[in-house]
């Protein structure tokens, strides 16, 4: 039950992280120029109306008191209502989160399923056509930004070839392009990481030992090399997953997916503090949990990792 204790410990450690993140964000949002009440009420509001709204929203109280009362509400899962859209943050979030999680998970799975085998194959056949091809693709994917690649793919596959829908979430085909575009960067890093890691592993002494035992080349790779070479790859997956959720902001906008990314963008534009704060807390928790899962998987693969200490 070491892992359960470890998981609990890690989840508890999320609390100070969330406090830090939210406090910094809260301060920045409060210091940002502009008057929220004026933005809500419009340009022709009177000074009394503005003062009244400020009082109603509690904005006339000191920063620290506002922060503490926000956090106390948040602990009770009351994340407030949007200032601009008049919707409940938690409700909206639970509607939008599945889309973001679906697209991010699909993107990561796509990157792993395609990237890891390609990386391993190009390490085993180092300096082959496949290897050079993979290196080229990695460079290409790393250097193309998602908003450009996404738009180009929309023009080519959706408008010219008419194979796929341009945007929306109407059918499963809508998810194909977003998955590929959002996963492109992770795909590149999966190929590169698993190739490098495999090249390191096959130089190791224990690989030579495995061959000296009478293992064929195939068995050496399957039974001895892959598991060892996956250790750094899994760590990389964790880092990329966090980045992918961030990247979803861009991809969701391009493909008009109603996920948390597009909600966050609109909230930041409209100075909608409850929505921004709420979204960031959720993302922090999600990233924290994903990192925890990654660490547990690492411990599962590598017996040298001792969760108890």
């Amino acid at each position: 039950m070491d892992w359960l204790k470890y998981a609990l410990k890690r989840l508890l450690m999320l609390i100070p992280v969330i406090i830090c993140v939210t406090f910094i964000l809260f301060v920045i949002l409060s210091l940002a120029p502009g008057d929220v009440a004026r933005m809500v009420l419009g340009a022709d509001a009177t000074a009394e109306q503005i003062a009244a709204l400020n009082h109603e929203m509690g904005l006339d109280k000191p920063l620290l008191i506002r922060y503490v009362s926000y956090m106390l509400d948040a602990v009770r899962l009351d994340f407030g209502t949007s200032w601009t859209g008049n919707f409940d943050v938690l409700e909206e979030f639970s509607f939008r989160l599945p889309y973001t999680l679906l697209v991010s998970t699909l993107a990561i799975c796509f990157a792993i399923a395609v990237g890891v085998p390609l990386g391993i194959a190009s390490a085993i056949k180092q300096y082959s056509l496949l290897d050079y091809g993979c290196t080229f693709v990695v460079m290409l994917l790393f250097s193309m930004p998602a908003f450009w690649l996404g738009t180009m793919c929309q023009i080519f596959f959706c408008l010219m070839l008419r194979w796929l829908p341009v945007s929306g979430v109407g059918s499963w085909t809508c998810y194909i392009l977003p998955t590929i575009i959002l996963g492109a960067n992770t795909l590149a890093s999966m190929i590169r990481m698993s190739r490098t890691s495999m090249l390191d592993v096959i130089k190791m002494d224990y690989i030579r030992t495995a061959r000296a035992k009478g293992n064929s080349q195939k068995d050496v790779i399957l039974h001895h090399a892959i598991r060892n070479s996956l250790i750094p790859v899994v760590t990389q997956i964790g880092i990329n997953f966090a980045g992918t959720i961030g990247g979803a902001v861009v991809t969701e906008n391009i493909f008009a997916i109603p996920g948390i990314g597009s909600m966050l963008i609109n909230a930041v534009k409209g100075r909608d503090v409850p929505v921004v704060m709420g979204t960031v807390i959720f993302i922090t928790v999600i990233v924290g949990v994903i990192n925890l899962i990654v660490d547990l998987v690492c411990a599962l693969i590598d017996p040298r990792i001792d969760l108890a200490s």
Binding site: D205, R211, K213, S216, N228, P303, R304
Partner: protein
């Protein structure tokens, strides 16, 4: 007298690296009889490990066997397909590597790694029989069978080398290539490991090729000795031939001279001056000529011929006039 188990004849091995060709073995010949313990002695870079890896055909990609022959029980290994080698490696010829710290797979339990040899070469055994054998073998090398589910990082260096030995000997091979099995271990553990290897060797009647730079170890453990320098065997014979001090190759003399004599009151060690020649150029004469106190003009020009007396063979021009009519 028993047949030769392993016969290496005029073996040339080179490493084709990007910037140069490195000549690792330049015409090495040696014989090993069944059940015999042969010590292969030489300094770092002399080609000892290359020789062992050549026998198993496990040289790294850049390594190439340029010419020569390796015959095992009369079968030419260099002509065999890879599938034949798979049946040989780990079954009939096992190898122990220098560094037990890195030669075990860190993510597999030691029991699994030992059992793998049985999985590969004795697929007809039942699972229970295999586990039984693994337990026995672990106990034989002095590790409680209860530790078989532990991982390499939970063992000390000496214990890991015991695991490696268990792995190498569980198939009861005919030949064990032991590449500096004790170099990475401290001296007390060294003695234990060598004693263990001696015991198991007798039990399974395994021939041993002990690769080492430690002449003391050879004197204690081996029946016969081959001294290798710069990829050439410079002297070979029985342990008595080499350590009697008679008609030794100057290099062997130098090596023996390096062992401090505690019965004399001396302050200094006696190293052999100079370094081994650059292996990127093939020496035209005797490879040791540049470091040899007795070197003559001839030594730098001609490769010395063998001078043999019974079981003792030396490759040195100093013995040219003793060769007589042969």
């Amino acid at each position: 007298m028993s047949e030769n188990l392993l016969e290496v004849k005029d073996l040339h091995v080179q490493y084709n690296t990007d910037d140069a060709v490195v000549y690792a073995l330049n015409g090495v010949s040696l014989n090993l009889k069944e059940g015999e313990k042969l010590g292969l002695v030489g300094e770092t870079g002399a080609g000892k490990t290359t020789l062992a890896l050549s026998v198993l055909r496990l040289l790294p990609k850049v390594g190439q066997i340029a010419s020569g022959s390796i015959s095992y029980k009369g079968e030419e290994l260099l002509d065999k397909p890879e599938s034949y080698m798979l049946g040989l490696r780990g079954r009939r010829v096992s190898m122990i590597f220098q560094d037990p710290m890195t030669s075990l797979n860190p993510v597999k339990s030691v029991g699994d790694q030992i059992r793998e040899v049985l999985d590969l070469h004795f697929p007809q055994l039942t699972k229970e029989a295999k586990n039984e054998k693994v337990d026995q073998m672990l106990q034989l090398v002095g590790i409680p069978a209860s530790r078989k589910n532990e991982f390499p990082h939970q063992f000390s260096g000496g214990m890991k080398q015991r695991v490696v030995i268990a792995m190498a000997l569980i198939s009861q091979p005919e030949l064990l290539l032991a590449d500096e099995p004790t170099t990475a271990l401290d001296v007390t553990i060294q003695a234990q490991i060598m004693a263990l290897m001696g015991q198991l060797k007798d039990r399974f009647n395994t021939a041993v090729l002990l690769i080492t730079h430690d002449l003391g170890l050879v004197a204690e453990f081996c029946d016969t000795v081959a001294v290798i320098y710069s990829g050439c065997i410079v002297e070979s014979g029985t342990v008595e031939d080499i350590f009697s001090g008679k008609n030794n190759h100057p290099y062997t003399k130098g090596l023996i001279g390096c062992i401090p004599d505690l019965s004399k009151d001396e302050d200094r060690l006696h190293p052999i001056p100079g370094h081994m020649a650059d292996a990127r150029t093939l020496p035209s004469g005797c490879p040791f000529a540049d470091r040899c106190a007795n070197a003559m003009d001839k030594c730098r020009k001609e490769r010395p011929e063998a001078f043999s007396e019974g079981t003792h063979t030396v490759f040195c021009h100093l013995f040219d006039n003793m060769r007589g009519g042969v």
